[in-house]
Symmetry: C2
Subunit: 213 residues, 2 copies
DNA sequence: GACTGTGAAGCCATTCACAGCT
DNA sequence: AGCTGTGAATGGCTTCACAGTC
């Protein structure tokens, strides 16, 4: 088992495979081939095998993969065999949606706290959470053992929130504000930009039209 | 000007550049170099120049780029010099957040209608929209000139909604359900998976820990 | 016969480095 | 002197193709 650099694209697909495997498992499927996984998630069979090969040999030649086992392996690889407490900063519509997003809640993630600085939002209930003032952030992070923060504030406040997260000792940040944030190298950060993909679509619609001239 | 195949990564970055340029422009900056753009969005200067080179020569040697002009070019390239009407299907928390998401509304996108099949949601107001039954979908799409659909329903309903969108003649789909959807080649589709990036973070946190053994 | 695991080949994107302008 | 535009070099991801195994 070689544990060299794993391409981020591989990790992305692994996350997708794991969700597909969950579905197969729920449907009672016990064995699956790389071709079936490929078909189910829209990549090539060789890609599936290469991706898995970064982490070990999970299949049986001539047979395929055991769904339950492979699912467990992918979960362990992705760190989903434990529960991660999340802190969301920003209790606007996006923050609200994220708090109640089932995709986070069922798959090993647990929103432990929501914060905002807006007095009209502090104290508001979201599910079984109460929006807390940012001043409580360090305390809650410590008590709830939070290692990952989610930024769901407007651009203008994003860097400030990131700084607070770094200072408080968070190890990873998921940023929904459409700006590049500055954080030290030891903090993992990824951006989710809700309009980039939309603009890829409009680019392609325009491009297609141009090619039909 | 060569208009060969443009890598999707280039389009993604173009979208990010364009937002950065908007910000510079609002701050009154008139000229910018590839190095400054690179710094601002977190890529290399050569990357910025290469990306722009796919579409033409926009800069002045020895000087840099005119912010306003480059902003306009990137907008036109991305198809943002027109307004795109969007139809959102799914009026849960995510659909709600998307309806009111400013990132969509200000940058050339306009949510023209929201749909749901749940009788408890139909008729509900979201901003100045009213949730409509799916049966109205074809009619509204036609009347409002909608070309892009957004899927914000649970996995179980996603393919069905995609089929409806295809049948109704939509040209592009942004899918927030974490499944691979089947659509014909002439329909552009992209997925936004809110938990993939989170799982990249947990993967990396686990990986780092493993490397410190 | 079927399917995995993997070196090799192919391909695509990024980086380099410098010529060309201003 | 400074910065763009770009061919060439590099690096890395994906696909191919087949040996290995059940």
């Amino acid at each position: 088992m070689k544990t060299l650099r794993v391409p981020e694209a591989t990790v992305t697909r692994l996350s997708i495979y794991s969700r597909f495997l969950e579905r197969l498992d729920r449907n009672g499927v016990t064995t699956v081939s790389s071709g079936e996984i490929a078909e189910g998630v829209g990549v090539s069979p060789a890609q599936v095998r290469k991706d898995l090969a970064y982490f070990g040999e999970f299949g049986t030649r001539g047979v395929g993969y055991n769904v339950k086992d492979l699912m467990k392996y992918t979960f362990r690889i992705l760190g989903l065999d434990q529960t991660w407490s999340l802190a969301i900063v920003g209790a606007g519509n996006l923050g609200f949606a994220l708090c109640t997003y089932r995709g986070f809640n069922i798959r090993s993630f647990y929103v432990a706290a929501v914060f905002d600085n807006d007095p009209t939002k502090i104290g508001k209930r979201i599910g079984n959470l109460v929006v807390q003032p940012l001043s409580k952030f360090p305390e809650v992070v410590k008590n709830e053992n939070i290692r990952i923060g989610i930024i769901a504030v407007p651009i203008s406040a994003a860097q400030e929130v990131a700084d607070l997260m770094v200072k408080t000792g968070l190890e990873a940040i998921l940023n929904f504000a459409p700006v590049a944030l500055n954080v030290p190298d030891h903090v993992e950060i990824r951006n989710v930009d809700l309009s980039v993909k939309l603009e890829i679509l409009t680019f392609n619609l325009g491009f297609k039209a141009a090619q039909n001239l």
